[in-house]
């Protein structure tokens, strides 16, 4: 599904962020990346989505066997990669429904049937316990932090990606909302068996609901340790320093 090979990435002002990052995910797998602040986790998700603010200096990203480095962000998205963002932005004047209909039309040769689209959208709002009126409101405008995160998952449900990147989905979600959102993700994964999930998080709480196959610890732009879910709990108990995966200097950096 996704193979990242020895990836080196820097910002436009030449600050090196990813330093030899590698990862391999099979279809249907759930992987987790945990790591201290500023270690490059969110950058990784943006690089996969080909954000033009980052330059790949070395390495490759293969999605379904093909390099996506030559592709633009919209081309990557249309191939089935979806990023639920850490801080979803608001866009005044563009309604949720209009936006999603345009996004679906962009992916399809045929125009989306409005009746079927509205039915599916209404169902998604219901599944996520969101008021239906929100579909006609501007994207994330006046939404709470939790509503914005739910809105990301709503978009995921309608756009039907194959590879889903969740960048700190759990931040801003209350306990009940986190359960609802994770239930929706699990339902989606049941329905789309080939779909894979890459979760970026600081806390194992979300992993109580989304059961990962592999947990990676990322330090200073690369994976330093991988294991099963017990690694996440060990990390919570001992911290990065206690795991012997990082030097004192790197912790304070």
């Amino acid at each position: 599904m996704l193979e990242i090979k020895d990836l080196f990435v820097e910002t436009l002002d030449h600050k090196e962020i990813l330093k030899g990052f590698s990862l391999a995910m099979k279809p249907g797998e759930i992987h987790v990346i945990m790591g201290p602040n500023g270690t490059g986790k969110s950058t990784l998700s943006k690089v996969i989505l080909r954000n033009p603010d980052y330059v790949v200096k070395k390495g490759d990203i293969l999605y379904q066997g093909e390099s996506i480095l030559p592709l633009s962000t919209d081309e990557v998205a249309r191939r089935g990669i979806f990023l639920a963002m850490q801080n979803p932005i608001s866009i005044e004047g563009v309604s949720n429904s209009e936006f999603l209909r345009t996004a679906l039309n962009a992916r399809s040769q045929n125009k989306v049937n409005i009746y079927l689209f509205m039915k599916e959208m209404e169902q998604a709002f219901q599944d996520l316990a969101m008021p239906k009126e929100m579909m006609h409101r501007s994207i994330n405008q006046d939404f709470s932090g939790g509503e914005r995160k739910k809105n990301e998952i709503l978009q995921m449900k309608l756009l039907k990606p194959q590879l889903i990147l969740l960048d700190e989905l759990d931040s801003g979600l209350d306990i009940d909302s986190l359960k609802i959102v994770c239930q929706n993700i699990n339902d989606y994964l049941m329905e789309h068996e080939e779909a894979s999930l890459l979760i970026i998080t600081h806390y194992p709480r979300i992993l109580d609901y989304l059961h990962p196959d592999v947990v990676h610890i990322m330090i200073d732009g690369r994976v330093v340790k991988s294991g099963d879910i017990s690694l996440a709990y060990e990390l919570e108990k001992n911290g990065y320093h206690g795991m012997n995966v990082v030097s004192e200097e790197e912790i304070h950096e």
């Binding site: 633009s72 962000t73 919209d74 866009i91 005044e92 004047g93 936006f99 962009a106």
Partner: protein, 260 residues
């Protein structure tokens, strides 16, 4: 819906009898919907809204240079959705009596240079204005000169203005957001933005599969019409005008006349 057509050759009205057109003044005596279609016209038109009357007004200006004046009496309520294409329409609002309220959304899509003077004058207590001025500037130099005035002893007023110019070229864009407030018990805010659509917004849309041109169309339509209160018919008509202005739609859904 009542209609008033303004052209270079004069006015043509299709209005109910409760709307009175006298010279350059329309008197609104009953709650009503009015659409003003202004093509290539240069009129000075005054609308007087009687006490406790509600007016829903939509204006489409095409290559026009009209000046609209609004005089609101006690507890009158006015909502204006004003869209101009290559026009330099301007407006002035006088909230003359207590409790009068106006919400004015003005949007302009233009390649012409223009200075647009806009004035909102609060002359009585508890009057409210919410003004939004947006311009998508394809070429030329463009200025919004927006002044909100609250006179002395006009307590409890709300005087808010929000102004944005999205500049597609290297032409000059200016916003002068002025608030002249002569009383202390007043809420008054202004905001001004000149620039492009932000790259974060474009990345967000791209991450959902929209190419740059599709994103521009969506953002442009939302920017110009998103705040307006329009009937479905007028909304479709205004959207079509934007599309016509943008040129032929290409295969990816974008407009040939606009580039990201």
């Amino acid at each position: 819906m009542n209609k008033l057509l303004l052209t270079r050759d004069g006015k043509k009205q299709e209005m109910d009898s409760n709307l009175i057109l006298e010279e350059n003044t329309v008197i609104i005596n009953e709650t009503t919907f009015l659409f003003i279609d202004a093509r290539d016209s240069q009129e000075n038109l005054t609308l007087v809204i009687a006490p406790e009357v509600e007016l829903q007004l939509s204006i489409l200006g095409f290559q026009s240079a009209n000046h609209f004046s609004f005089l609101l009496k006690k507890d009158a309520r006015v909502s204006v959705s004003h869209f101009g294409i290559d026009s330099c329409d301007s407006y002035q609002v006088v909230l003359q009596e207590e409790g009068a309220k106006i919400r004015y959304c003005y949007s302009s899509l233009t390649r012409n240079s223009a200075v647009i003077p806009i004035e909102i004058k609060h002359m009585a207590q508890h009057t409210e204005s919410e003004i939004s001025n947006h311009c998508f500037q394809v070429a030329g130099d463009y200025t919004f000169d927006v002044t909100g005035i609250v006179l002395k002893n006009c307590a409890g007023c709300i005087c808010n203005q929000e102004n944005q110019i999205i500049n597609l070229t290297h032409g000059k864009s200016k916003i002068h957001p002025n608030l002249l407030i002569d009383h202390y018990d007043v809420v008054a805010n202004h905001s001004a933005y000149v620039g492009k659509f932000s790259k974060e917004v474009l990345f967000y849309l791209a991450s959902r599969g929209l190419n740059p041109k599709e994103s521009y169309v969506l953002l442009l339509t939302g920017f110009l019409l998103g705040k307006m209160s329009l009937s479905d018919e007028l909304k479709g008509r205004f959207e079509n005008k934007i599309q016509e202005y943008g040129g032929e739609r290409n295969e990816s859904g974008g407009f040939s006349n606009f580039t990201a």
